[in-house]
Symmetry: C2
Subunit: 355 residues, 2 copies
DNA sequence: CACAAAACTGAGACCGGTCTCAATAGCTAA
DNA sequence: TTAGCTATTGAGACCGGTCTCAGTTTTGTG
């Protein structure tokens, strides 16, 4: 059977029908698992299909059913292991439920995001999961009148299913850990840039974390924690410069909280370049339990994020909507877990820190 | 304009045509950038389309043009940063050339790969890039009678465009580095498992690297280098056990060559658990310049692989074929670059190594 | 000013499936 | 035996575009 030359032009239902001596409609029924077909005819059709190497054209099928069996996913940065893991959760979940995934990157840019939504919509995706680049610019998401799920970030203006993490309390917890170890000069590093004029933070995740950080700092009686927040620490941007400048200051922080594993890596790089040691000269806590954090020395204390579960939850909710679920928008919040390892040192509160 | 209620049912060419008072054919020409349309009519149609919020249905378009503008990519393990980077190279290249990508995982399993090819083919992809799980089982790839490009691995039985790296010479180079530093007991660690009965290595990359390793070892007068090759060092499998057992032996290796960054991480984990230090107790060289390798201490000496370029080259060749290029199968080999860092120590050849 | 060439436009087939509806066939109940 | 049903099957419309071909309108040229 493997030696027969495959047809130049792929076989269609029509071809199979002809070979089996039945009508196109009947062949389609036998092949497509719908409608009623007598067992004898079905066998004949299936045999013919087999012989012709028939392969159903999913595109044509989607054309008439109106469902593509594909969902779109837009994240800001696929490079980030956190999103990478979330996407895997989505993909696995989607496949298990019979859907495919088209993945796209927005580069954390709203305009790019808008164009991407348009492209995906044209491809007839059945639904969309997005980690919106900016909560303030979401008309394209509202206009996308189909099942939509927000992941990692909320948008007040969008009443749709949302899955997020408990960013505020996790940030507060990590900050408290540092505070309890005696640290007072704690810097919070995030990749997000403050857009020119307005200083509003347009990503709920970032805002919540900073809020949690500030809350914990203030509870410890430390004034103006916002001054300790450093924006624009991008791995492929000037992140390294920002960190080095920070660590070169006389009143340099004794501890840093990195908002993702890529930033933690930049911190490692900077301390290495500056000859500082962790946790001796600088304590470090990072968001996301990247694989390397537990393997290196010192192992990095992290806030483990259930990113895979995040993705699974998102795709689960999305597909429920696609299947027709009618219900008010749901909101799921997943808890992070603080994993204490070796990158945080105690500091003697009474001793002054050498500049 | 943003306050008009979007139509319940998306507008089609027909709707636009009607609104503009022209025939469907003319509207389609104006909207689809083909055929000739007078400027006045075009303006009228475009305006109508704008007003109706018309959005072309790519699926329908593909249906009649016979081209989906989508290419499929199958790799063994998306988790692996090496493939992750290659996939990004493919995605970026594809987008630049006007194509989309559907990504799939084969879990390094031929059967899974076969099913995936089938699924992608049904989705009418225009071409396929694959890092085949096994060179011995490729009928499904041969039967897939469309543009096909092999990436990272060659398959002698498949005369198609291929992009690979210079695995043999790179492995030899890294081994020589270790040899020159005085090492003699050098272990090669790979994730690949030897399939039950036959001990053939069914992945060209793995075979070539081991060949390069063995060649260098033999050139240094070291007998039976194959005994130093350890298979099945999978991060999510028993990799950790294998490494620990290896490092616990009296004649444990003084250096290891890890075939990817995930394995290097496992080595780090094992030495950490066993209280060994790198490079003091064990030297390490790893394939792939993962981001963490240069940030940690000691920084890991690596064989940098142009994975992004690998992906770009693959997608470039594939799309040339899709566009109709007729030419004998091409083969591109990309060079790796050895980046010496801090994870290799000199060993005094005259001194005996303590067990 | 007349006629050929070029530019537009409209009708309708087609891509490869699904799906509705009517027609035929086989079978049971009365 | 025959009306009444149900199980099968065939014809053809339809999804939303593209594309061919013929008919109509302009434009160009001698």
């Amino acid at each position: 059977m493997s030696q027969e030359t495959p047809p130049r032009k792929p076989a269609t239902v029509q071809d199979v029908a002809q070979a089996a001596g039945v009508s196109k409609a009947t062949a389609a029924r036998a092949l497509g698992q719908y409608g009623a077909v007598s067992t004898s005819v079905r066998a004949r059709v299936v045999a013919a299909a087999e012989a012709l190497g028939y392969r159903p054209n999913e595109m044509a099928r989607s054309m008439s059913t109106g469902r593509s069996g594909t969902i779109g996913v837009i994240v800001g940065d696929i490079e980030n292991p956190y999103f990478g893991l979330a996407v895997r959760g989505i993909s696995d979940g989607a496949r298990a439920l019979g859907f495919n995934v088209i993945l796209a990157n927005s580069a954390e840019d709203s305009a790019e995001e808008r164009m991407t939504v348009e492209v995906l919509a044209r491809k007839q995706i059945d639904g969309l999961i997005v980690a919106p680049a900016a909560a303030g610019d979401v008309v394209h998401l509202r206009d996308y009148a189909r099942p939509l799920v927000l992941m990692d970030r909320t948008v007040a203006a969008l009443a749709v299913d949302t899955v997020v993490m408990d960013d505020a309390s996790a940030a507060a917890e990590a900050t408290s850990l540092l505070l309890d170890a005696g640290h007072r000069r704690i810097a919070y590093l995030t990749a997000t840039k403050l857009a020119g004029a307005h200083t509003e933070i347009d990503i709920s995740t970032v805002a919540n974390r900073i809020a949690g950080f500030a809350r914990a700092m203030q509870a410890a009686g430390i004034g103006d924690p916002w001054a300790q927040v450093h924006f624009g620490v991008t791995p492929r941007g000037d992140g390294q410069g920002v960190i080095r400048a920070l660590l070169a200051r006389d009143d340099r922080p004794t501890a840093v909280l990195a908002s993702d594993s890529l930033i933690a890596l930049e911190v490692l790089r900077a301390t290495k370049a500056l000859g500082l040691t962790i946790p001796g000269d600088l304590s470090l806590v990072s968001f996301h339990d990247a694989d390397w954090t537990s393997a290196v020395t010192p192992a990095v204390t992290v806030l483990a994020q259930p990113a895979y579960a995040l993705g699974q939850a998102a795709v689960g909710m999305l597909i429920e909507r696609i299947e027709g679920l009618i219900a008010p928008p749901r909101r799921v919040e997943l808890p992070m877990r603080l994993i204490v390892r070796e990158s945080v040192a105690r500091i003697d509160l009474s001793a002054s820190i050498k500049p």
